[in-house]
Assembly symmetry: C2
Homo-oligomer: 251 residues x 2
């Protein structure tokens, strides 16, 4: 099965003040859908553990044409684009089920790290993974290199709490994304919409650590901001987020 | 359909550091399941809006025999126990699908408030609701009256952010429950488990408001604490949470 499909319906309980899917929900759905495909094909977390390795999401970028809205059905499609000795690229297309229209594209980069050395392991030895490589066309833009923010970037601090911690005792991806989302006030999201989001996961944060989430306008890119989550001097995540004014007439 | 069934499987991505379902996830699942039953029977939010009323969850209590664990299937059953002029009681039983064992019971109290006056409306005029009253046995304990905490209660403050806001521009139920969960450190949850949780929703909080979440041991009840979420002088929620030591041998 070289193309995996995840159908879902977005209820009122799942949407934000803009009646749209929150960015953190879209990212966790992308991760869950990748996991579902990997499990089905026999190279999920359980299989990787047999060789003392674990999947780690390294980078993710999403191009959002239209964020999924309330009370509508969507279809998220995913496939493996490439596999090499260090990483595997997995792509996603999100479609409005009713109209068939593509509403988002996503690109992800995964590594299988050795649980002891924490080093990437050779992915080309996983035949089931190599066998499903699919050259389906991709309409998004792959992630580029992200930079730490500079001195003088604005932000806020937050200490990680019980509700932020996952089964591996690390801070959840959801909390990382929400920390970045929360850099802007509600008014910003009423006036503007997110058109692109890119993140590189650098280091896992833990319970009780004090984080600093920072942002600054991206030099020479209109409407874009660089963001960073830090714990002390350690960079836990680098991100870039792009906004466009909402079209009040059309949306 | 006097009994509504919601089957689910708990994945690793959904569980906390104890490899169990987070309390906030259990509460939102209970609300979503109630909504699913009401929609199916024609007295969901959309139907209530036709008479300018909206369902409001007023109180909830959960008795937890064993919190759902990772990589297992569960079945949540719900039914309407009573309907009167002011409120309706809806009950829940949560079962381990494999063993058939009951792992939790929940009791909820709902009102349909008029959107203009914010007063409760007469529920006995909703025939479809009255028609599904079910006297199925309930093994939990219904909620009692909850008290505000006293001067000297311990806690922390938190300003509500974009990621905490729902489609009605109110703070989400998930954030309320997580605020209470986060009153205790991770070590508390490793040593103890939650056996009972009760909450009364008193007032809706909004974006940007500064909250104070407080707790104190419940007088004369071993292992229980009273908790309260306040915005200024307004009490937004009152809760009581009971812990027992985990049985290290048996669990």
């Amino acid at each position: 099965m070289k193309l995996f499909v995840n159908d879902f319906y977005l209820t009122a309980a799942e949407v934000n003040a803009q009646e749209e899917m929150p960015l953190s929900r879209l990212v966790t759905l992308i991760i869950d859908t990748a996991t579902g495909h990997a499990n089905l094909l026999g190279f999920g977390y359980a299989h990787m553990m047999e060789s003392n390795t674990s999947w780690v999401l390294s980078r993710l970028s999403i191009d959002i044409i239209r964020m999924p809205g309330v009370n509508q059905s969507y279809r998220l499609l995913t496939w493996v684009e490439s596999v090499n000795r260090i990483y595997s690229e997995r792509l996603f297309e999100l479609k409005d089920t009713e109209t068939g229209e593509t509403v988002a594209w996503a690109h992800t980069v995964w590594m299988a790290i050795d649980m002891d050395s924490r080093r990437p392991t050779d992915l080309t030895c996983h035949k089931a993974l190599v066998d499903v490589i699919n050259d389906r066309p991709f309409g998004g833009v792959k992630g580029g290199k992200l930079q730490p923010v500079h001195d003088g970037a604005e932000g806020y601090d937050y200490r990680f709490k019980v509700s932020d911690i996952d089964v591996n005792r690390h801070v959840t991806t959801r909390r990382y994304i929400d920390l970045i989302t929360d850099l802007w006030p509600l008014e910003k999201y009423m006036a503007d919409r997110v058109t692109r989001f890119e993140i590189a996961f650098k280091h896992e944060a833990r319970y009780g650590q004090e984080s600093l989430t920072l942002m600054e306008p991206t030099a020479a890119v209109e409407g874009a901001y660089d963001a960073e989550i830090r714990v002390g001097d350690t960079s836990c995540a680098l991100a870039r987020i792009s906004f466009s004014h909402r079209d009040m007439s059309g949306e």
